[in-house]
Amino acid sequence: MATTAAAPAFAPGKAAEYGTSGVWSWITTVDHKRIGALYLYTALFFFLFGGIEAGIIRWQLALPNQHVVSAEMYNQLFTMHGTTMIFLAVMPLSAAFFNFLIPLQIGARDVAFPRLNAFSYWVYVLGGLFMTIPIFFNAAPNGGWFGYAPLTTMQFSGGLNIDFWVMGLQILGISSLAAAFNFITTIINMRAPGMTLMRMPMFTWMAFVVQFLLVLAFPVITIALVFLLFDRFFGTNFYAIAAGADPLLWQHLFWVFGHPEVYILILPAFGLVSEILPTYSRKPLFGYNVMVYSGIMIGFLGFGVWAHHMFSVGMGAMADTIFALTTMLIGIPTGVKIFNWIATMWGGQIRFTTAMKFGIGLVGLFTIGGISGVMHSSPPADLQQTDTYFIVAHFHYVLFGGSIMGIFGGIYHYFPKITGRYLDEKLGSWHFWINFIGMNLTFFPMHYSGMLGMPRRVYTYDSGQGWETFNLMSSIGTVLIVIGTAIFVVNFLRSRKHGAIAPNDAWGAGTLEWSIPSPPPDYNFAEIPVVTSRYPLWDLKSPDKTAGIAHSAPDSLTITDAHAVPMHEETGGKTAAQLGIPMPFPTVKPAIAALAIIVMFSGLLFMHVGKFSVAMAVTLSGAVLFVGTLYAWLTSPLE
């Protein structure tokens, strides 16, 4: 297995004139696997960038009374660290997996709207740059990742910083919404014959729930941002206290979005862990049905808890109580998942691969984060905890210990499928352990400094308050995280060219994506298989594992696609043309449409530097470019 032959490149597609290598082929790709790779690389870049921002914060806070950076720059750093990690790192890392994995897991050849898919990516990367570049000009967003108005209105934030934030988020919202419509349609409508919803892999299920959260939550922040944009650019009164505006309007609208957003951040990682644990325990997932229903419950209930972010604003006893109850309630479906994961491992033949370590890491660390979360759900207790480092501890346990651990597990698990080579397990082990220790060393002490009253978002602190030791520990932990992450980067870059070659089924897993070559040919499946259970590949290769699970016989199903065939492992080697499979044409139009959107928003910026006619000209040209590109896009055939 460990040969040094080159892994096959992405199999050539139909439109040879666009090439299969080179920058142009990447700019014009509509292949979900390539788009997934683009998301992965870009998101990892932003993850490192956000990590550097955190590194500078921890450097500043390592000792009391430091002035490594000014207070103003510090505001930009913590704002961009949060914004980057949430919108430019974790969400796109999840998107990388949605893109790459969903069609493969459901037995499809691509997503429902390949060009819209490319569009989502280009809007993301251009929007991300739009929001990130300003920090080099000392003009980065500086109002916190949650941008509370009225602080972020012109009256209190007159520079361009918040403009970049408002418009950047608006742009990113377009990317996420478009992708959500795409994946909802894909999951509903492109599953292989026999793959009922209750036979879908757990990652696809969690992804499915997340798409609905995106569809329902993003419009709300879109409107909140529209109000802020209009206030800042057109003089409206949505957040203008002097005109009678309510200072809580922004907070409510933001958190109606913001709470589902955190489930958007964690559910994909949960899905990845639900793929990892069964594989390396050589056992089916325990309680599949319950895992599905709890995921749906979390998504649904997630819309009813948002004001627990506002326990200190004076909503009144009734509101506080209701939101406390709903928040406590949502701990139940989440806790259920933890138990199901443990039961999955129980009695299994555990292999401690790197992916497994990260998976188990999530189970443990997310539980810690969940416990502090339940502590916040009591309004009186939260009055002490809110706006302190206790909260910072909580959300880093669930986001780093949860989302990031799950995502890294997914990367180690799926790297062989994406590239055809394994990541090095030894380096992976170092990465995991150094990061695990570093993460705990960084964030556990924050429970203490928070309890001792250290506020959030302070650029420095005085000595003698009992916070020094904990801050120093956190900063040392950060150094470990940096080292662990660096090891990962080295591993990632080296293994692309020098990793051990991986077969179709790199780990002995049970789902469809492992039945095709690594990396998959551009058409994914030469023949769409008929699916008769949740673990089609185990049925084929290790039926003892799935003896206890409901199956149907292949011919008892009505095969509604005359071209579908019984489940089998594919060996690849043929092109789409040879197989007669029509492939979508690569096209640059989605990228241009994305660029047009950035241009439109950028035009507005000129209004705030006094150049109104330039603003009009730029925005109008962007609009014309957008409409023209859209027209060309919609009137050209997909394949």
Binding site: I188, F212, V215, L216, V220, I241, A242, G244, D246, L248, H252, V256, F303, G304, A307, M315, G316, A319, T560, D561, A562
Partner: protein, 106 residues
Amino acid sequence: MSDHGHADHAHEHPTWKQYKWVAIILGVITGIEVWIYYTPFKDSPYFVPTLLILSATKFVIVVMFYMHLKYDHKLFRALFTGPLLIAMSTIAALLFLFINRHHAVV
């Protein structure tokens, strides 16, 4: 047998007669809404609930018949009802949260 991706457009359709009646009913309800706005009924505590019920009726009629949710695959009913429920709950919750907040102007 094979429904290859072509939207098998509902086997039943509203007929031209039904469309005509739907339009008439919608027009009549709108007329009633505007009419009661100009009568003393508008000062009664039942005015607002009545309007809400009348509008909700129009809403449902347009969605069921013009958007033919009544005749289409059940999937679309699920795809619409979920978001609608969450939207209405959110409006209701926000209204309750803001109901007693009157501020002195700073």
